[in-house]
């Protein structure tokens, strides 16, 4: 009986967590228009701009290096097999399609989750511990609007941008590999790339990146808002934010990939 009770308790907790995330997501969505310049609240867009720099610009070098490495690794692994069939040219398809549909959004999400998701939970968790969230509430300011919404808007804009840059770097790594192995020029490589991918591939990757951005921000912020206690609780929230957001990103990736496959989008 205890096992059933424990299982039930865990299931209820998970449903409550997802319910909390959904509630927070809609509150964040409602607050988004107030982050915009001109029509939004005075000066609020500047906060979103600062977040864009933190989430996007500061992450670019890391994403660039990781994408170059991943692109090269993918080309090397692919070439090892394809060379045996005399199909080395298909390394280009592998890298181009692999990055635009899958690796670009996923790699970007993992980097943003590790850098920014953890930062969100640490920042909000610390604000909780030092009563700053309470102070906002007592000043009749909505913490969702004041703390979460600028991050949400910034991530919705910057994660797709980073994904495009990740695709570019990954595909560029493929160009490097093809030049070193077959002396293929950049122009020829680019023509093969444009032959192999269609706009739909890029678009499906961007749809995923928007979903991943939402997950990272919502989970990171929720873990921060949940912090109770002292500094050690902030540490736990940070770890939890990265673990949960990475897990949910991969689940969402599977979901979207399955949807695209079943609807014929990825064929």
């Amino acid at each position: 009986m205890n096992a059933f009770e424990d299982l039930g308790s865990v299931v209820i907790q998970q449903f409550a967590y997802v319910g909390g995330l959904t509630d927070q997501f809609w509150s964040g969505m409602r607050a988004l228009p107030r982050m915009l310049p001109i029509m939004g609240k005075r000066g609020r867009w500047q906060g979103a701009l600062r977040q864009m720099a933190a989430i996007g610009v500061a992450a670019l070098p890391m994403i660039g290096i990781m994408a170059l490495c991943a692109g090269f690794i993918l080309a090397l692994q692919g070439a090892a097999e394809l060379r045996r069939f005399g199909a080395l040219r298909y390394v280009i398809d592998l890298v181009a399609i692999g990055f635009t549909r899958e690796l670009g959004p996923l790699l970007t999400a993992i980097v943003v989750s590790g850098r920014s998701g953890s930062a969100f939970s640490a920042e909000i968790g610390t604000m909780n511990v030092t009563n700053e969230i309470d102070a906002l509430q007592t000043m009749a300011l909505d913490p969702i609007e004041f703390v979460l919404a600028p991050k949400f808007l910034a991530a919705l804009i910057m994660v797709p941008c980073l994904t495009i840059m990740c695709n570019v770097f990954g595909i560029a790594a493929g160009a490097g590999f093809m030049y070193l192995s077959t002396k293929m020029t950049i122009g020829v490589y680019a023509r093969y790339v444009f032959d192999s991918i269609v706009l739909r591939d890029v678009f499906s990757g961007l749809v995923k990146s928007v979903a991943f951005a939402t997950i990272i921000v919502q989970v990171g912020c929720m873990e921060g808002f949940k912090v109770r206690g002292g500094p050690e609780a902030v540490g736990r929230a940070t770890t939890s934010a990265v673990v949960k957001s990475t897990f949910l990103v991969i689940l969402a990736d599977l979901f979207f990939t399955a949807i695209f496959y079943l609807t014929g989008w990825s064929s």
């Binding site: 000066g43 030092t130 309470d134 102070a135 509430q137």
Partner: protein, 269 residues
Amino acid sequence: MTEPIISVRDLSVSYEGHQVLNRVNLDIQPNEVMVLLGGSGSGKSTMLRHIIGLERPDSGSVLVRGVDINRCSAKDLRNIRRSVGVAFQDAALFNSLSTEENVGLPMRELTTLAEPVIEIMIYMKLAVVGLGAAGKLQPYELSGGMKKRAAVARAIALDPQILVFDEPSAGLDPIVSAELDDLILFLKRAFQMTILVVTHEIPSAFRIADRVAMLYKGSLIAADNKEAFKGSTDPRIRQFLDRIPDPITESAAVQDHLRELAGLTGVAP
């Protein structure tokens, strides 16, 4: 007697089966300084969090300016919150903002005042608390006393009717603590504010209070003017005022637990 500006009615709160507040009733009149005393774990911080609407009680109600803050609309709650300024124990200044940005935050967010007006008002609020020259400093550059003053400046930014202090003297040396007491009295005199102070510092309490209330193990055991409170013969109040320690190791619960640890059973001789 006038209508109370804050009215706590039968407030009961429990956390995980542990009763923290037990049917507490307290009225706070306009323009008075009410000090809420109590030892550690007496429930005073919990009561403060319920009075400022940060938590919902199990039962009972908190009326601020006649509005039940747990059952009113979101708009009414916003209006009530705008009329209550809170200075938290650890100041709760936003570390990402400078001192003047902290003070200006409620004005920028909740009013339509023009920027030059806001800048003048920020300076005035900081000058009131003696921090006129510290506006550009970041919170981490301020001393403990300055942080608390900055928190007061932010709390009075929108000229609230009610000002709430959570442990204003905590962590401050006696001189800075006395300065803060003077500031509280000045605010009451100059702005006719109703002030609620939660503390366990007895000298500070008697210096600033018009009335003193005391919580003991979640129950309100006194709410009287300070002279009557000072002269109380209630043993729980006398123990607090005369600083008499609890005989911890002699308590029945501790003795029972020690016997249990030693593997002894049965009734103590």
